[in-house]
């Protein structure tokens, strides 16, 4: 088995980085209040 075959494929690394960036972006948005996800926000006071 070659070293290349044993390593993690490039697409997996790219996929992981994109997923991590998206998760961090969503968490930051939620913490900043941009994506307030409580269903109560849809109900008028």
């Amino acid at each position: 088995m070659t070293a290349e075959a044993e390593g993690t494929p490039r697409w997996v690394k790219v996929f992981g980085i994109v997923a991590l960036v998206l998760v961090v972006a969503i968490v930051v948005m939620l913490l900043a209040g941009i994506g307030d996800h409580g269903p109560g926000r849809h109900i008028q006071p």
Binding site: M1, E6, T8, P9, W11, V12, F15, H37, P39, G40, H42, I43, Q44
Partner: protein, 166 residues
């Protein structure tokens, strides 16, 4: 699995997964109608219909896709944790199903506002379904591409199993 059962399981997985993708596309259309229609009844109707339609179509298809995917991977040499593309699809499917279940509460809240005749149309319109349906569509398209392309790469677990078997 016998070849006949394997074909049936594969057909069930493809049908439920692509059906889920199509249903999300229909929700994206509903979300656009809710945001852009000039007719008040149409706007309210779009948000009212989302909740029951999600319970009847989206949730069953999501879990059918997950269940048939598990059967498909565990019942074939692909395995569940041996190949990165199968693992990635599993993670995407589980994530999408969890977010969908959590979002059902929001669908209910949106429907309640839309069904309230005293609620202003501006309060009924909401960009949230458009955002969630758009992201879900991207996620499910990614899963579909992975299923079609089956990019190579075995996980460390898969490599151990493979070398152990060989």
């Amino acid at each position: 699995m016998t070849p006949r059962v394997r074909k049936f399981a594969l057909t069930a997985h493809v049908a439920s997964s692509v059906g889920w993708l199509g249903a999300v596309a229909a929700f994206l259309a509903l979300a656009v109608v809710g945001l852009t229609s000039q007719d008040a009844q149409t706007v309210r109707g779009a948000y009212v219909v989302m909740e029951p339609a999600a319970w009847i179509v989206l949730v069953p298809l999501a879990f059918a896709s997950l269940l048939t995917g598990l059967v498909q991977s565990l019942g074939t040499p692909w395995g569940l944790f041996r190949h990165y593309w199968v693992l990635a699809k599993l993670l995407l499917n589980v994530l999408a199903a969890i977010v969908l279940l959590l979002y059902m509460q929001t669908f209910g809240a949106l429907a309640s506002v839309a069904a309230d005749p005293s609620a202003d149309l501006g309060a009924v319109r909401n960009v949230s379904p458009l955002l969630h349906a758009g992201l879900a569509l991207l996620l499910l398209l990614t899963a579909t591409i992975l299923a079609v392309c089956k990019p190579r790469g075995m996980t460390p677990y898969g490599r151990r199993r493979s070398s152990g078997a060989g």
